[in-house]
């Protein structure tokens, strides 16, 4: 491990890999029969554990002033007297389902971490990775079969509410975590806190910032964009010069989050705050669609109708695009390979719209099936506690990609991001700026269905050529209204309880 924050860089990640996962002190078994965590026991255990590890260094780990000290000994790596976080019954094993991370080094790190944790705790650990798009299908199969991985990650499409009756209540694990690392930011609550219970453990957000070519702006006398209108203005100048912006209008994840972020910044949304009432027929939505039609015609690339999730990265990497809105992997992939282009790309704060400044990242949330055998659920909880306490090393291993969702972990200066001027701005991506699908209401199965069917990008697609705002609105109405109607007529998916989300 690096002793000084300055030493903690992306290339330091392999060092982190070598650190075996220790076991924080937690003397009591904390998982009750049936796979549900026993809150009282776990709280007792965690309190003892925190005391054993030393609460002061743990909290210091989250503070900016003591960053160097904490980096030297992150709490997850503190010796903990050899007592596991949760007493794990004999014969436990742990199977984990993850997605293929966009930073492959993080997968290597995670797999080794899990393997080392297993060796330390005498638990046979297996980690499986699938493509992010395959996760919903895989989880549906596991839920239907009533068997599968003991611990798994929801990614991008967070289905905690859909599977609310199939998930372990992780509140006993979350409460001490919130105590140690601060409140969970709104998007973490929206994705994990369901009807008064923590059914997921917010792992991280993949931030989706604007990435812009500063050299092209400078050469053409254009100012650095701060608003979506600025992007339009720059695009109008640069598109005729073959440097159009690149926002996908296709059936891909990027299109889903980018167009939602812009839509919200115009004050428009698919649904109202109650999560049930449609909000399509508003002046804000018409303004947004009018803007989108003009943006597509005058500022955005014509190729975007066929794009997949990596297309905008490739577009930026080809030296053609002047603006994309995607994760920093687009930039990282150029680092060391095309330094000239890399140096000419800046990460910007989220663009402002006429009504708001909002961003839609891709969150990842851990969850445990309630049909997981008791011993394995204990192992999963113990693993999560240890792993999440090692958050700083995890963050470094992801090269600053995995933005934490606990407020105290987002205190500046953050490792990795604070050390490179290019990435400093990423530290500002937190709090209420970050929202998820279903906004301004909660995330619901209906909003998830709208997301999975790419209805918002398709609504923008309807504006192509002679398509009008009315055509786009009609399409969205016809597609979205039956989905919400179906979900809220059924007793099986009750209307979300918005007030239950803690502020």
């Amino acid at each position: 491990m690096a002793d000084d924050p300055a030493e903690i860089r992306a290339d330091a990640a392999p060092e982190v890999e070598a650190v075996p996962a220790p076991s924080p002190a937690l003397p009591e078994p904390a998982v009750a029969l049936g796979g549900r965590l026993d809150r009282r026991l776990l709280l007792k255990g965690l309190s003892a554990g925190l005391a054993g590890v030393g609460l002061a260094p743990l909290l210091a780990a989250c503070s900016s002033s003591n960053n160097a000290k904490v980096t030297k000994a992150p709490v997850g790596n503190e010796p903990a007297g050899g007592t596991p976080a949760v007493v794990i019954s004999k014969g436990a094993s742990l199977s984990i389902l993850m997605w293929n991370h966009f930073v492959p080094a993080f997968d290597t790190y995670f797999d080794k971490y899990a393997s080392d944790w297993g060796k330390t705790n005498n638990v046979n650990v297996r980690v499986d990775h699938v493509d992010i798009a395959q996760l919903p299908g895989r989880l549906a199969a596991e839920a239907a079969a009533g068997r599968g991985h003991d611990l798994f990650a929801f990614a991008a499409q967070i289905q905690t509410r859909r599977y609310q009756n199939r998930l372990v209540d992780m509140t006993p694990l979350m409460e001490p975590m919130i105590k140690a690392y601060g409140d969970v930011i709104p998007i973490g609550k929206a994705t994990s806190f369901i009807d008064g219970k923590w059914l997921g453990l917010p792992h991280f957000n993949v931030i989706i910032p604007p990435l812009v070519r500063t050299d092209l702006l400078k050469d053409n006398g254009l100012k650095t964009p701060e608003t979506w209108d600025d992007v339009m203005a720059a695009g109008k100048v640069l598109k005729p010069k073959n440097h159009a912006a690149g926002l996908a209008i296709s059936h891909c994840n990027d299109a889903n989050h980018n167009w939602r972020a812009i839509m919200w910044s115009f004050g428009a949304s698919e649904v109202q705050q109650d999560g049930k009432t449609l909000a399509l027929d508003t002046q804000e939505m018409k303004d947004f669609l009018t803007w989108a039609k003009q943006f597509q015609a005058e500022a955005n690339s014509d190729e975007v109708y066929a794009w997949g999730d990596v297309s905008d990265n490739q577009y930026l990497g080809s030296g053609t695009g002047f603006f994309i809105h995607d994760a920093i992997s687009a930039l990282r992939s150029l680092q060391g390979k095309n330094d000239q282009l890399y140096n000419n790309i800046a990460i910007l704060p989220e663009m402002k719209g006429p009504k708001a400044q909002l961003s839609m990242p891709d969150p990842q949330v851990f969850a445990i099936w309630n049909f997981t055998p008791k011993a394995n659920a204990e192992a999963a909880s113990s693993f999560l506690w240890t792993y999440m306490n090692n958050w700083k090393a995890n963050f470094i291993a992801s090269t600053g990609y995995n933005m934490p969702m606990f407020a105290n972990q987002l205190v500046k200066p953050m490792p990795v991001l604070s050390e490179d001027p290019k990435f400093v701005v990423m530290q500002d991506y937190q709090g209420a700026l970050l929202q998820t699908y279903g906004y301004p209401g909660p995330q619901t199965p209906a909003s998830e269905d709208v997301l999975a069917q790419y209805i918002i990008p398709d609504m923008i697609g309807k504006l192509k050529g002679s398509g009008t705002v009315e055509d786009a609105l009609k399409f969205a109405r016809d597609q979205i209204a039956p989905i919400y109607a179906k979900n809220y007529k059924s007793n099986l998916t009750p209307a979300p309880n918005v007030t239950a989300i803690p502020k």
């Binding site: 798009a133 919903p136 289905q159 599977y163 199965p445 999975a452 597609q479 059924s490």
Partner: protein
Amino acid sequence: MSLTRTPAAAEAAAVAVAPQREAGRMRRMVRGEAAFGYLLMAPVIIYLALLLLYPLLLSVWFSLTDASTGQPFGSWVGLKNFTDVWSNETFRLALRNSFIFTFGSEIGKAILGTVLAFLLLRRFRGKKVLRALLVLPWTVPVALTTLGWLLLFDPTFSMLNRTTSAIGFPYHPNWLGEPVPAMIAIMMANIWRGFPFSAIILLAGLTSVPPEILESAALDGCGFLRRFHYIIVPMIAPILFIGLLFDLVFSFTDLSVVYLLTRGGPENTTHILPELAYQNGIQGGDLAQGAAISLFMLPVFVVACVIMLRILRRREI
């Protein structure tokens, strides 16, 4: 009345009983054979029941409920899912696309498969190696081959467009970004994958045609097309029909090419039924609607199978 039986009477009685015994033995044997037959059939019946009938019945059940991935045991809603999907524009587009995709692909496969089969009938050096290579598209995993097509059709780096541009061809579409080219693109990928299978089926049939019949027809002045139409096709019709049936089912149910190339885009214009069912039922979590969409394929299969098998049976008679 004497209780003893004379030898003659006993013999007569024995002669009378013998056929009865024989019949009984035969009956037992037949019964035994039937039981043995059923025993031999049992693995297939169990296989069909478990892997085909059970999922089919489950789909029917899902389609009549409001089941979702989170609540697979939904409550009864009758035919609502069917009426809902029928009223959906995207579904109707997917239904239309399924037919275009299937029949378009079949025509392409039939033409290319026939040409390839006749080419492979000829004797030339390296024929076996070439035959093995030609089967590769069909045997290599679809995800791998489709990724190759994705590169060919890539909107930014399309090798296809670069090549056509280099030879001065004026039309360079955004293959996967415009409705018609996107539909052509997915059909091209499907034809490329499937035509070696058509060729092999046809080749198997062609090799079974006695060469002397073709030679005598040629001597009688029959040209290639007439020989093909009046001799070859009727003789290999059973093989052709079975091959066509297989291919129709493969194409109509193939979601991988569409999923990997367009995911139904641009603007839902390349959705086909199996891919839409996967998107809505599994990705979107609406199991009931996904099941209803996929069940729309069932009548098509049943009609196609019945027609083809009837034609086959008539020909055999």
